[in-house]
Subunit: 133 residues, 2 copies
DNA sequence: CCCATTATGTTATAACATAACAAACGCCAA
DNA sequence: TTGGCGTTTGTTATGTTATAACATAATGGG
């Protein structure tokens, strides 16, 4: 019963791509970016993403239907994100404090996974759009 | 320039449906459930949802690609949800405390909207599945 | 070597969402 | 009153995201 222990070539290619870019990518964008490789179909991308998500090497950004490489040393399965709607960048953080508050008010609900996504404008983009010439 | 101030029949029908059910519904489920009405196409459903979302009468549950009627007296545009993966029920709450923590660590990021979704098992479903006969 | 299992490739389709255009409706100014 | 404009609604088509289903190849233990 050998369950997948190593990443295959496709998985590595997807991970390398997401690590190189620092922004979230949609699955079909990944597909297009990897057109030089054996990856030719959506299902290959989704299969790779599935493995990478299991290992917390990649996170899904729910509010964007997109995927981003984890940039933390210690991979957490449930990160929080600041998502800049202007430049599409995301900043990852670990919402431990917030989640401990949430645990308190869960009143019996058994939390298995969470998604905390803050949408707005990052510092850089605020400077660029807000300032008059 | 009269911008839509009242809800139309379609909007009311969608809201009534979502209020009657207490669980999130996907847009195409709504479409099917309203087959007796003038609503015949997906775009009509999405248009109604758009208006209802603007007014915070309905919320989008990102992790389910689904929509649920707001059950709060004071409608907030950014609620939190406990989502039971077993019975699909959602419990809405206002994550003000958590978000004030997040504001502290946002370090210049301007938060406009947020989504806090906790997936797990509700008290009722824990009792049903966990207990031996 | 042979078979079972896992991995990969390929095609098709399901599920979710919006674009684009047409028809009808309401309002108010000429 | 009517004619024009903005809004709403209806309709068809298409775009986008995700998975199902099946075929083929690689791998590893007996």
């Amino acid at each position: 019963m050998t369950k997948k222990q190593t990443l295959g070539e496709n998985d590595k290619a997807v991970l390398a791509l997401l690590s190189a870019r620092q922004v979230p990518m949609a699955a079909y964008d990944i597909l297009q970016a990897l057109s030089g490789t054996p990856i030719r179909a959506a299902s290959q991308v989704y299969r790779a993403l599935e493995k990478l998500l299991e290992r917390d090497l990649v996170h899904r950004v729910e509010s964007l239907n997109a995927f981003v490489a984890c940039n933390h040393a210690t991979h957490t399965s449930s990160p929080g994100f600041f998502v800049c709607k202007s430049c599409k960048s995301v900043t990852e953080f670990d919402p431990v404090d917030e989640v401990s508050l949430l645990t308190d008010r869960a009143s019996g609900f058994k939390i298995e996974r969470y998604s905390v996504e803050l949408t707005g404008t990052c510092v850089v983009c605020q400077g660029q759009s807000g300032a008059p010439s």
